[in-house]
């Protein structure tokens, strides 16, 4: 039946050597993913956006979005149970689809994480400014500028100092922020209704479906654990669990937050959708104005954790692209002591911070800037999710482990993600988002063409991951003859 064992030559060290292999505890990996999804911020902000389309069906939009996120997580788990990657979805996609698609995923992830990191910095600055103003501090454009610079550099320094340290900071900050949110929303849900419930216009199925796209945007970043494959202890168990649990927990928190807010505004004309700042309004109505600064604090912390987690992921995607030979090789270097991709971090963070600080200093209002950055990020993530879901069954077929649930999951999720992508492009029609996305896509294509011409061999072999090395295998057979 077998022609004898075919033992491929094993390397003495992993192609992604230099990062601290197998050091992160499961909770630390999980915290990174949760912070990427930033459920606290999503709890406070997204229900009102979703309600604009879904009205009284807001909760259902979140339930559907959670289901979709879990499906994407299941596609991601097909890879992460079998391989430990450093480049996140990009490295995974490369094992299923051709180098062009993998490259597209890499570019989409760079846009996604880059914009999400910028959005997190902007969000943190927004709520810090509000908090400072509420506590009687100065109102000036320099408060958010200072916050962007300080928070950005702090995130960069922590990311540089070591993945373990930054993971622990993220874990602590996210834990405090989610606890704050649960307390706030628990109090609000327990509050007596302000008046008789008004009949809500029924959103219909169309409304709920339209609400799914903004609800799905609440999950972006939940896959960050995939970039920590080589650094996680027991990665084949930890990473898929971290991603799946993040989708489930974020979904549950968002459904809870949406329910609180829909109920809270049931007696107000226009309902939740008409609200500009729903949670502070509810807090004031409930007679707990002191909840509002607490909310600002929680959100600032959540955004800080999100900035830190996305910086880690962004640097690792860039690191993997460099190790693959399609990005400048310097990005593939690691710090000898801290075992982090220090060159990638040292380049990316200042560029983000300076660009963002300049934009804010030039007088761009924070709220529209945050929406813009999140919208662009969502575009990047939608592309990356679509590609990884498409790649999953192809990958399984390639290694001879295809099963029907894998095909079924892809058959369900890919058309939905495609529809979401189309809806997204249509919704952004005529806004600067489309122009920016087109420019980014053109840059990516030009980059790919350049790489194909200058480094054809590297492009063909794209997709390094933390493969099994001689020392991982028992017995002398592991050593290359």
């Amino acid at each position: 039946m077998r022609d004898g064992p075919v033992l491929p030559r094993l390397r003495e060290r992993s192609p992604v050597h230099g990062l601290r292999r197998r050091g992160l505890a499961p909770l630390e990996v999980f915290a990174q993913s949760v912070s990427g999804a930033a459920p606290s911020a999503a709890m406070a902000a997204t229900p009102a956006i979703v309600a604009a389309s879904a009205g009284g069906g807001t909760v259902w939009s979140f339930v559907v979005a959670t289901g979709l996120a879990l499906l994407v997580a299941s596609c991601i788990a097909r890879f992460t149970r079998r391989m430990a990657a450093t480049g996140g979805l990009y490295s995974l996609t490369a094992k299923g689809l051709n180098p062009g698609a993998a490259f597209a995923s890499g570019a989409a992830l760079l846009v996604g994480y880059g914009m999400l990191a910028a959005a997190a910095l902007t969000g943190g600055a927004t709520y810090l400014q509000t908090l400072v103003a509420r506590l009687g501090g100065p109102v000036s454009v320099w408060v958010p500028v200072g916050a962007v610079v300080a928070v950005g550099l702090a995130a960069g320094a922590l990311a540089l100092r070591g993945v373990r340290l930054s993971a622990r900071v993220v874990l602590l900050v996210e834990l405090v922020s989610i606890t704050l949110m649960l307390v706030i929303f628990g109090l609000l849900l327990a509050a007596p209704p302000a008046g008789p419930e008004l009949p809500q216009p029924s959103p219909g199925l169309g409304g709920i479906v339209a609400g799914v796209l903004p609800a799905l945007a609440a999950f972006i970043g939940f896959e960050i654990a995939t970039a920590l494959g080589s650094e996680a202890r027991r990665p084949f168990r930890t990473v898929p669990r971290a991603v799946t649990w993040t989708a489930a927990v974020s979904g549950l928190l968002c459904v809870f937050a949406a329910q609180t807010q829909v109920v809270g505004f049931a007696s107000v004309p226009g309902g939740l959708a008409a609200q500009d700042a729903p949670v502070p309004t509810l807090a004031a109505a409930g007679g707990w104005p002191w909840l509002t600064p607490l909310l600002d604090l929680g959100l600032t912390m959540s955004f800080f954790a999100c900035a830190l987690a996305t910086t880690n992921a962004l640097a690792r995607v860039l690191f993997s692209l460099a190790r693959d030979g399609v990005a400048p090789r310097a990005f593939g270097r690691t710090h000898p002591r801290f075992a982090t991709p220090h060159v990638a971090i040292a380049v990316v963070v200042p560029v983000l911070v300076v660009g963002l600080a300049a934009t804010v200093a030039a007088g761009m209002a924070l709220a529209p800037l945050l929406v813009f950055l999140l919208t662009v990020a969502t575009g990047g993530f939608l592309v990356a999710y679509l590609l990884v879901c498409l790649a999953a069954p192809v990958f399984l077929r390639r290694i001879g482990e295809l099963t029907w649930p894998a095909v079924a999951a892809t058959a369900v999720i890919v058309p939905i993600l495609l529809a979401a992508l189309v809806a997204y492009v249509v919704a952004s029609g005529g806004t600067p988002v489309v122009v920016v996305l087109a420019a980014l896509a053109a840059t990516a294509v030009a980059w790919f063409v350049w790489a194909r011409l200058r480094r054809p061999a590297e492009v063909a072999a794209i997709g390094v991951y933390d493969e099994t090395v001689a020392a991982d295998v028992l017995g002398d057979t592991g050593r290359a003859a």
């Binding site: 039946m1 077998r2 004898g4 064992p5 075919v6 033992l7 491929p8 094993l10 390397r11 003495e12 601290r20 292999r21 197998r22 050091g23 149970r81 079998r82 391989m83 094992k95 202890r233 027991r234 084949f236 168990r237 290694i399 001879g400 482990e401 099963t403 493969e467 099994t468 020392a471 991982d472 295998v473 028992l474 017995g475 057979t477 592991g478």
Partner: protein, 251 residues
């Protein structure tokens, strides 16, 4: 280390799943590295989906590894812990080096190998009997030799089963142990003062293969606990010199 949990009672089809998992492990050993999931499924006449799940579980627990093509499987390093390590007597030339050191110092001199992820004494000092071999193998964190082994493994936590306290000096918290392990990795020497027996202490240095630097053995000095805490510059230099001489003989 895992926190103790209530073991779930085996129920329903679980006994069959355990048998199947063991059969999968055996099949990988029998067929040799490179066997694919489909081949295992065919050889064991097991449904494919079940085989894939068991394989992913065993890979997740690191008893098996996937080879770089992601198709083939081989036994992982963790599987070594399923077998009793075979004690091999070191070559005469190596024993001569250890005896030479014994002639120079008044402390006990022990040589241990680290095969199978365990401390195995291969040349204990006959004049200064070391602690019980089973204790050393079971609680690597309390001996200097065991700490050398732990410091060499990124996943050392998996090897520390229980932070058992032997004396008032025994390290009893994971964070403190982690700091000690980091020190060992940094300094290239492990020490333990009265943590296993209140009156004894130990110093140990690694013996590394000359080519690739992998850890093959550890050379230890055991003496009075209060003396081990001293810098012992000359003793350490002597210990390192003999470890270097052992390297080409043991690797």
């Amino acid at each position: 280390m895992t926190t103790p949990r209530d073991p779930l009672p085996l129920s329903g089809r679980q006994p069959r799943a355990v048998r199947s998992a063991l059969a999968v492990l055996e099949e990988v050993v029998a067929a040799g590295p490179g066997i694919t999931a489909k081949e295992i499924s065919a050889a064991l006449k097991m449904p494919q989906a079940t085989t894939y799940r068991l394989l992913n579980l065993l890979v997740g627990e690191e008893y098996l590894v996937r080879l770089p093509d992601l198709k083939g499987f081989a036994l992982g390093r963790r599987a070594a812990r399923l077998a009793v390590p075979v004690t091999t007597t070191p070559p005469t030339a190596a024993r001569a080096v250890v005896d030479h050191l014994r002639g120079l110092v008044r402390w006990g001199v022990h040589l241990a190998s680290f095969g199978a992820g365990q401390v195995t004494l291969v040349d204990p000092d006959p004049d200064h009997p070391p602690s019980d071999a089973a204790l050393l193998a079971r609680y690597p964190q309390v001996s200097a030799l065991g700490r050398l082994l732990l410091a060499d493994q990124p996943e050392w936590r998996a090897l520390v089963r229980e932070l058992r306290v032997f004396t008032e000096h025994t390290v009893s918290s994971t964070s403190e142990l982690a700091a000690r392990i980091d020190e060992v990795a940094h300094d290239g020497i492990a020490r333990q003062c009265g943590e296993l027996r209140a009156d004894r202490g130990c110093l140990a240095v690694p013996v590394r293969a000359p080519g690739d630097g992998r850890l093959v053995a550890g050379l230890a000095l055991s003496g009075p606990a209060n003396r081990v805490a001293d810098p012992n510059t000359e003793l350490v230099a002597l210990l390192r010199e003999h470890a270097d001489r052992l390297a080409p003989l043991l690797a």
